[in-house]
Amino acid sequence: MRLYKSIRVLLSTVLLSGMIGYQASAQNLAEFEKKVTEFTLDNGLHFIIIERHEAPVASFYTHVNVGGADEPVGNTGIAHIFEHMAFKGTKYIGTTNWDEEKKVIAEMDETYKAWLQEKFSSNPDENILSEKWAKFEELQEKAKTFVVNNEFSEIIQNNGGTGLNASTGSDLTNYYYSLPSNKAELWFNLEADRFKNPTYREFYVEKEVVREERRMRTESNPIGRLIEEFVAVAYTAHPYGRPVVGWNSDITATTIEDARDFYDKYYVPSNITIAIAGDVDPKRMKKLAEEYFGDFRGKGKVAPPVTTVEPTQRGERRFTIEGNSQPIMLIGYHGVSDSHEDFEALSLLGNIISSGRTSVLYQKLVEQEKLALQVAAFNGFPGTRFGSLFLTLAVPNQGVELDTLEQRIYDEIEIVKNGSITQEELDRARTNIRAGIIRGLANNTGLALNFASTYMTKGDWRDVFLQLERYNDVTLDDLQRVANKYLIKQTRTVGATVKADS
């Protein structure tokens, strides 16, 4: 019930999906081959089971290959709203009488649509509006009488479930929690039920909860406001330019019917991967998978692709938000998607210039010149499925003008373009990310998340380890080449928050 939005989350995702030393990777891969079982059901739903018998617990992770980027125009935020709805129960969980409740829900949605129709007509009639709204509210109250509040989540928690949550990003939606491993069947039962039988219960109240989430993360948060504006300026055509939480008016405009259409299109077996990591028996998992997910509808269906491609930017774009908080700046260059051959070189570049105390931006701008409180550069924002941004975050020290810091960042980028990165720096970056991967393999949730998302994006969980070959292929020349090719003024977007009176 969270959004992949903060820069910190982004940074850690970048590190997690990083790289690994080749020898170590071969060794790790061989070990994991023994622990991993995978299978695909007849309907196309793929499972990855990772055995880890450290303790009698298991983590369950459902990865759906749908995010903000897939949303239809006019319904931004719908992936996230649907994610919230997945906690509202099923045909017998969370309700006292589904047969009656569903009639009220259907009527409520019809009424809301009629209200919307009037509201956004060219000449709305106030009487009709208030009449429709009154009826809608009455139906909403009536629908509430059937609701058993949060029963779905409670069943999980009462059975010892922990870490129950979900998140929606530009590229994906995921759902996860952990259970004592003997309760694995409970997860199968509930997960299959909620995705086979979505009810859209409490839909319109939950949209208000989502709006509060939007106020908290975006409207009342200086960094949230900056990021929302930033992607909207950087992308003119591609849906990466839209907020994952949705524009306020789109949240208003989204109906249960829209959510149902969205579910029908995107929640199909070929678009979902499930990973289970922990103290489980793969044979039994397979049996349960067939029992519970075998009849999941949508065999052979493929989710519609995103066909919009961001056109080449014709010149630098700049904006400032005047506000009440201290300055922060984002500098983004249009880069590539994670399937592009330059992706790894750009990721390494970001890592080398800004990660760790030995990196050039830290050394010069933070330590020596004391211009910045923080500088970070990373590749793959706001997602990586499509053409993404190479983003630099710059937080100036007190009394340092943004212009000064910005210019110094460009100076350093120019030096990199002239080929200043050394083999030692490149090796160090590889070593650190390899160790990062190893450290990320020590818990069930991390394993399930990593393996499922890698399968979904790369077609094979082994790419967690095999991606290193691509990183190993990156040379100093490549780093220089991608710096010169992508880090150019023409495709740059620069956005900042500044104090209103400066």
Binding site: N158, N159, V209, E213, G356, N397, K499
Partner: protein, 687 residues
């Protein structure tokens, strides 16, 4: 017929196969047996305690020390010392491994070392690949015992912390939690005091060296070591590496007494750039050692325990008032915790959300919870117990934490036993005994204009000032002759305002020439200033149109082209300060102000009497020795944009007397040597 029957049977089969069984029909196998990891413990002669756990899953070793120290021990006026010391051990490196060398060494090996000091404990840890252990252990020991604390890193650390201070009012949630804590524990408690520009400036390298020396000794250290190693061999290595550390004396961390009197208060902090209110409601909490601890924890589960808690169910799910809501009765080990409930809700529903929070507390007191609620809450806890020990690291951490906090090894087991015995009436009893919904403190950080008067129904609203105290200027404080100062101040007062003159307000018509990046802009200004209540009413004719600016009781607004806009206090406060520091006001209030004569000072080739007056801030007037009228005034103010103090100088000439009041008809204002604006007065009207 038969075919129909067969068909019906098939259909029935199909239906049963399609509908999956209910979740409550599942039969679960027994939980697999599971042996908790063994923890090996030993102690060195110098007092260091070690707890070792083998974990061979990955080729890593993690060594982590808990140090008995904390910012509780920061001397008053040097807040930030503990925190800086903690960070600088790692940031500055050691004698043998200075920062640059250390950074390269560690990053080449993808090894991490970090040091940190928090409020009631410190830590030093390393996380490395096992193959690097023998090489990096001596480096770690050297870092912990012989840190270098170089001056340049101390400066860097101060710069960064000051930037941090300048940003501390940017985030609504951090403001709310910080200020609420002050409401509960008091402004100057070691539990809540803040690091300020001035306290950082007061910290010297010697302070840091001494703080480290006292804290990082054997008797204050407890180590946890976990990873891929052989215990026997590891013991030997640790003995050798840490054996020579000094034993020192055990630090005595003293937590302040908390005297709480259950005041009912309503507090507001304005943040004009938000559209959501961050609300905290509560009072003091309790101690972990309280025999009712388990009952209170169960009460917390029912009231605010995640998705299943009543607050989430009511405020979020039913009412749709919030995304984030929760809270409970906090019990700390060393000092009383806080009972607090929080909610983030849109400005217009601030009071509705507060009412909903308080109603839930009252409900806990007036009605017993249901048996099912209690059983569910208990199940949630007991069934998830296995996650408390699902990694060896967690087992080790809990052991060290109990040891550090003086809890017995079986403290947790005892807690679990107590939990099992909690009854429905226990919950109601503790809710009545420990919660006081009618004696709460309410804090809202939100948008004043949008929130409006919603809070007034709870009582007098106290506006909390969160202005960041500005650092003192680097310049040495000039001090001079107070008696002579008072004498010159009297002369100046009489020169500006003839004795016996009754002065309340002054209305001036003037033309201001303001330097802007696009050239000089001329603005006609008609302003009335009251020197009794410091209200300002100014009408400015700007090239963009007429603008009216009004400041009353510290609150300001601006009206332009029919649009009214509130002025933030960041803008109105300097305006009011300027009035207070003006020669008119100083002359008017001369009897109540102190002043110092600083001698004669030359300015643009003329000699003046330098008179420092303590008004809202220090103002230095340069008086014409013949007339005692000020030719210049100098004020040093903190400019948050520049992050330092800036001196502004004003010059006054063309004096004319109106109804006994001398007024300068030509004024110039200079900032850092540049003329930023000037003003020519056309007319002056008294009262």
């Amino acid at each position: 017929m038969k075919r129909t029957l067969l068909f019906t049977l098939l259909m029935m089969f199909a239906v049963t196969a399609a509908a999956q069984k209910r979740y409550d029909e599942i039969k679960y196998p027994k939980l697999n047996e599971f042996k908790k990891a063994d923890v090996e413990e030993f102690q060195l002669d110098n007092g260091i305690k070690f707890y070792l756990v083998e974990d061979k899953e990955l080729p890593l070793i993690r060594v982590s020390a808990t140090i008995r120290t904390g910012s509780l021990q920061d001397p008053a006026g040097k807040e930030g010392l503990a925190s800086m010391t903690g960070a600088l051990i790692r940031e500055g490196g050691s004698e043998n491994y200075p920062a640059d060398k250390l950074n390269v060494l560690l990053e080449d090996k993808a090894a991490f070392m970090s040091t940190f000091i928090g409020q009631g404990s410190g830590s030093a840890s390393m996380n490395i690949l096992k193959e690097d252990f023998d090489e990096l252990l001596p480096v770690f020991v050297d870092l912990v015992s012989n840190p270098l604390f170089p001056e340049d890193k101390i400066e860097l650390s101060k710069t960064q912390r000051k930037s941090g201070i300048s940003r501390r009012n940017d985030d609504q949630g951090s403001i709310a939690n910080r200020e609420f804590s002050k409401l509960i524990y008091g402004e100057n408690s070691p539990l809540t005091r803040q690091i300020e520009y001035a306290t950082l400036d007061a910290i010297s390298r010697e302070d840091i060296v001494a703080f480290h020396k006292e804290a990082f000794v054997g008797n204050n250290m407890t180590f946890g070591v976990i990873g891929d190693f052989d215990t026997k061999e590891m013991k030997r290595k640790l003995e050798k590496a840490f054996g020579s550390l000094p034993a020192g004396t055990e630090n005595n961390l003293i937590y302040p007494e908390v005297n709480y009197s259950y005041p009912s208060t309503v507090n507001f902090i304005n943040k004009s750039d938000v559209n959501q209110s961050y609300v905290l409601v509560g009072h003091i909490g309790g101690l972990r050692e309280n025999p009712d601890y388990a009952k209170l924890q169960m009460m917390n589960q029912i009231l605010g325990g995640g998705f299943a808690g009543r607050l989430f169910q009511t405020v979020r799910t039913d009412l749709g008032l919030a995304y984030a809501v929760g809270g409970g009765y906090g019990s700390n080990i060393n000092y009383p915790g806080t009972f607090s409930l929080f909610v983030m809700t849109k400005s217009s529903t601030t009071a509705q959300a507060i009412d909903a929070l308080i109603a839930e507390v009252e409900k806990m007191q007036t009605n017993p919870v249901t048996k099912k609620e209690l059983d569910d809450a208990r199940d949630r806890f007991l069934n998830s117990l296995v996650f408390r020990y699902d990694s060896k690291q967690k087992i080790l951490n809990e052991r060290i934490s109990n040891e550090y906090n003086g809890l017995s090894k079986d403290a947790f087991d005892k807690y679990v036993e107590d939990l099992k015995k909690v009854t429905v009436s226990d919950i109601q009893d503790v809710a009545k005994d420990y919660l006081n919904p009618d004696k709460v403190q309410i804090l809202v950080v939100g948008n004043a204009e949008e929130v409006g008067d919603q809070l007034q129904k709870y009582g007098n609203v106290n506006e909390i000032d969160i202005t960041i105290p500005t650092p003192k200027s680097d310049k040495a404080e000039a001090s001079g002759d107070a008696a002579k100062g008072k004498e010159w101040l009297g002369k100046m007062a009489d020169a500006v305002i003839a004795p016996g003159t009754d002065l309340e307000t002054i209305t001036t018509v003037s033309t201001i020439n303001q330097a802007t990046p696009g050239g000089t802009m001329s603005i006609k200004n008609t302003a009335t200033i009251s020197y009794s209540d410091y209200s300002i009413d100014a009408t400015l004719e700007t090239p963009q149109g007429t603008m009216q600016m009004v400041v009353e009781n510290g609150a300001g607004k601006m009206v332009m082209m029919g649009q009214e806009q509130a002025l933030p206090s960041a803008m109105t406060k300097p305006m009011v300060d300027e009035v207070k520091n003006s020669y008119i006001n100083v002359a008017l209030k001369a009897d109540n102000l102190s002043a110092e004569y600083l001698g004669m000072e030359e300015m643009n080739g003329k000699k003046y009497v330098s008179l420092k007056v303590e008004s809202t801030s220090s103002v230095t007037f340069l008086l014409d020795p013949a007339t005692a009228l000020p030719a210049y005034s100098k004020v040093t103010v903190f400019d948050p944009q520049v992050g330092q103090e800036v001196e502004t100088v004003s010059s006054y000439s063309d004096w004319k007397v109106t109804n006994g009041v001398a007024y300068s008809f030509a004024q110039e204002f200079m900032s850092n040597g540049q003329v930023t604006s000037s003003s020519k007065v056309e007319s002056v009207e008294i009262n």
